[in-house]
Point group: C2
Chain length 514, copies 2
């Protein structure tokens, strides 16, 4: 692959119409549709297998590539398939932060941490819906996984960051502040070990053999996303096991709405457009059990005025607690600005329309890196105003109620106590009085699907018969249970590498069925 492809960062790449478009397209052409579709009972063996590998991995993100490497190191022949025309899935557009308890950056900075503390943070964020053994596994092996990425894979990590919900600074970031800083070295390592990686190859069905064992999969090679009729059907035998690492379903509107009916096409997603979850459905059709699919995380920091993840979140998240968030319909605050992701997103959704966040020059100057602000203003997501009246006019906010609300907020800031919503105010928060003023519209986007396939601590997929589905492993966002109700920022990388490696080792170590 070219360096250009390798360095591709898709943050901001996703068009605004993506989610709505997919809702219709994907469900017009699901894996099991067509006259030959006959439900899971019909998953008969093909007349012949077109290709044979020991282990077949579905997905080219952190989890899939980590699994492929470990399976290969067990002596297995390994194929990795990717339905999109580019590899890396959401991993390659991720911010490159890896939570690792007790990592060397923490030690250098004098930060006290432990797997127990990370576990505690994960369980608190997850409302204790996390499968405890899975959460513990990620916390306990997070630093080992980080070190594996650094020393064996050769990924460069350069700084220690803080993420909301963590008790301490725990997240180590790639040199290029992007998941590509890990995806690319993983891909290099995998291919250097002899793993075969093919793009535009979509799994349409798992093939079940005797006693419910997964023996391979049906794919479409030369698949041109999102044309479900494209490509050529083909059967790939997996002699040892299949590993599913195909990500979540944030971009699948119809499936989202089954699990959380509020998440209509009004909600776009920060995810890459292929995050549509057909692999989860295909696995369930083959007997795998799903769990906690209704815990779908929205980012409250995205703006309808730019596509994808965008540049606004880095402004919004820095000024919460320094500026105020108001409902443009009445000019009033409606929730504490420093509430967590879920609380704020729920509050905005309940209003039913975008809200605005406002900061003055003091807040912006103190909290936002000039380059970030410049970019956000350049794309037009953050706007600057010489007066609060002009700001109100721009967003159609009733002027006097808005000015009254700012005055009320300023009173709270002076007393360092929000009497209305108990927003956390920082010691250096100041009243919003210094022109120019900045504002940005906010409307949540779907960011992560916590639910997915049930797995055990060996990364085996559990079926509706409550037993492992033979020959089937899974890791990463396609699984459920690690994060419970809410995934903390930067734990996705830890989860994917820890469990991807386990899945790969166990899949590679399976006894061949033929």
């Amino acid at each position: 692959m070219s360096d250009e492809t390798k360095d591709l960062s898709r943050r901001g790449f996703i068009g605004a119409g993506g989610a709505a478009l997919l809702g219709g397209m994907v469900f017009g052409a699901l894996p099991l549709e067509g006259k030959d579709a006959a439900g899971p009972a019909a998953g008969a063996l093909p007349k012949k297998w077109d290709e044979t590998y020991d282990v077949v991995v579905v997905g080219t993100g952190f989890a899939g590539l980590a699994a492929a490497i470990e399976a290969r190191l067990k002596g297995a022949s390994v194929l990795v398939i990717e339905k999109m025309p580019v590899y890396g899935g959401n991993s390659i557009i991720n911010g490159g932060d890896f939570a690792a308890a007790g990592n060397s950056f923490q030690k250098e900075a004098g930060v006290q941490d432990s797997p127990e503390l990370m576990l505690k943070d994960m369980l608190k964020a997850g409302s204790n819906l996390n499968h405890p053994a899975l959460a513990r596994l990620v916390a306990e092996r997070s630093n080992e996984a980080l070190e594996w990425c650094r020393t064996y894979i050769g990924a460069k990590f350069t700084r220690l960051n803080f993420h909301g919900g963590h008790s301490v600074k725990r997240s180590v970031q790639t040199y290029n502040q992007s998941g590509s800083g890990l995806v690319n070295p993983l891909l290099d390592k995998a291919t250097s070990l002899g793993v075969k990686v093919v793009l535009r190859t979509k799994m349409t069905r798992l093939v079940t053999g005797k006693e419910g064992r997964i023996v391979g999969l049906e794919v479409r090679t030369g698949y041109k996303w999102p044309d479900e009729a494209s490509g050529t059907p083909s059967f790939i035998k997996a002699r040892r096991a299949v590993v599913l690492a195909a990500g979540g379903f944030s971009q699948n509107v119809a499936l989202r709405q089954i699990h959380d009916p509020r998440l209509t096409p009004k909600f776009e997603s920060t995810n890459h457009p292929g995050a549509t979850g057909e692999a989860i459905l295909a696995a369930c059709s083959a007997g795998a059990m799903d769990v906690q699919m209704d815990w779908i995380q929205l980012g409250p920091w995205t703006s309808p005025d730019e596509p994808g993840f965008g540049h606004g979140p880095q402004v919004c998240e820095r000024i919460v607690g320094y500026g105020l968030m108001v409902d443009p319909a009445n000019g009033k605050r409606f929730f504490k600005e420093t509430g967590n992701r879920k609380e704020r997103a729920d509050a905005i959704i309940a209003l039913g329309h975008p809200v605005i966040i406002v900061g003055d020059s003091y807040a912006i100057g103190k909290q936002v890196v000039p380059k970030v602000l410049g970019k956000a203003m350049e794309v037009g997501v953050v706007k600057k105003f010489s007066t609060l009246e002009a700001l109100a006019a721009e967003y159609g906010v009733p002027v006097q109620p808005f000015l009254d609300q700012v005055a009320r907020w300023n009173g709270f800031v002076e007393k360092n106590k929000d009497a209305d919503f108990d927003c956390k105010l920082f010691p250096d928060s100041k009243p919003t009085v210094t022109a120019p003023f900045y504002a940005m519209r906010l409307w949540p986007r779907v960011h992560h699907t916590m639910g997915g396939l049930v797995v055990n601590a060996e990364a085996q997929v559990i079926g509706f018969d409550m037993k492992p589905v033979k020959g089937l492993y899974a890791a990463g966002e396609i699984t459920g249970g690690v994060h419970g109700a809410v995934r903390l920022g930067s734990v996705a990388m830890s989860d994917c590498v820890v469990n991807g490696r386990i899945a790969g080792m166990n899949a590679g170590g399976e006894k061949a069925w033929s």
Copy 2:
């Protein structure tokens, strides 16, 4: 059946060890276990069918019997199977309250109501996770369903009740304050129409035919709950359709813990012991999609000092807001006493041990019917004390902190404003000062599973391919989506009768496949 059997009310019948016991037993012998088990792909047709009906209904609660009657009225031959040695499931131990918007009792009492208001209440309780079309269906047809029960089925309803979370008095109760007041007339009607009902017959598997159509089921006849090896395998052909109305999984500890890991064997259930959900799993193994299985409702009003639903809840629920709830470990309050079911249960679970609720003679005398109090004291769940010190000694509460807390609470009551937890205090609440004092220990029990099979408004079960599973219908607690995050009290009956009837009509109206 004998009148004795018919009048059986199983409220309070379930032994304390039931849940823990079931956890082990049920999952030692799941439907798909054994050397012939081969996952859903193996669901081949039997060599011969032992019996044939047009429609086979699984479950003898409100939903199953309503479905059987409507299917029979469509001209279908109908078999209803029940795995337990008694019919009625949870329906027969339910309190007999039926929420119906705009019912005649409301009109007589001058209560203004509408389906829109009932829908609003359901969506609010359900945190808008309800499938809107399903919730609307129940609200809009609730009164029609009630009238059908009264006029066509002949069930007697005699009083109008209020239930928490409803905007108005909306719940009409059976003459005997038990679900048996509806189950028995439904059963009489069904058998008089020629529906066959058999007990001790457990579905172990759905049988899938061509193109994924459900064509019948495998059962064990003469099944002796909970011995999974008991009974004789048998195949029943369903020429038109199968209707699943087998209830939820509150008593299935292993399955509960997959979806909400907090719900260990420490939590018993108010449900009948057979509420173990194998029918949900069997349906999913046959391609049906499940939804919102992690929304499991606990009643915060049950006591570890009596089994099942018990007598305590009727004391507890009447004195919240009049008396205080404390953590015996430190004598302090920990949550608002008038929080909703979920909030209170979550708060008690977070403490990790039973709490106590305390009321004085004023609160008890004003709020609790003497007969109810007498029964609760007779079984020992509510205890009486001449002093607060004696009460503290009984439950091992540190005395002085407890007395301080009661004094603090009394101060809030006097000001009619709880400064600690914002508990709703009623205009006639009075300080807890009048001996004798009463107390009861509280520990939540699993009460209802909101999640289940995905259905559409025609009661068709939806598969993982997002399309209806041909020949398969479902209604009642086995389904998910109607109630969203929280089911309101008394809407279970409305849901079961409305959707049971729809399932029966549509199943009975299917074209026979053979």
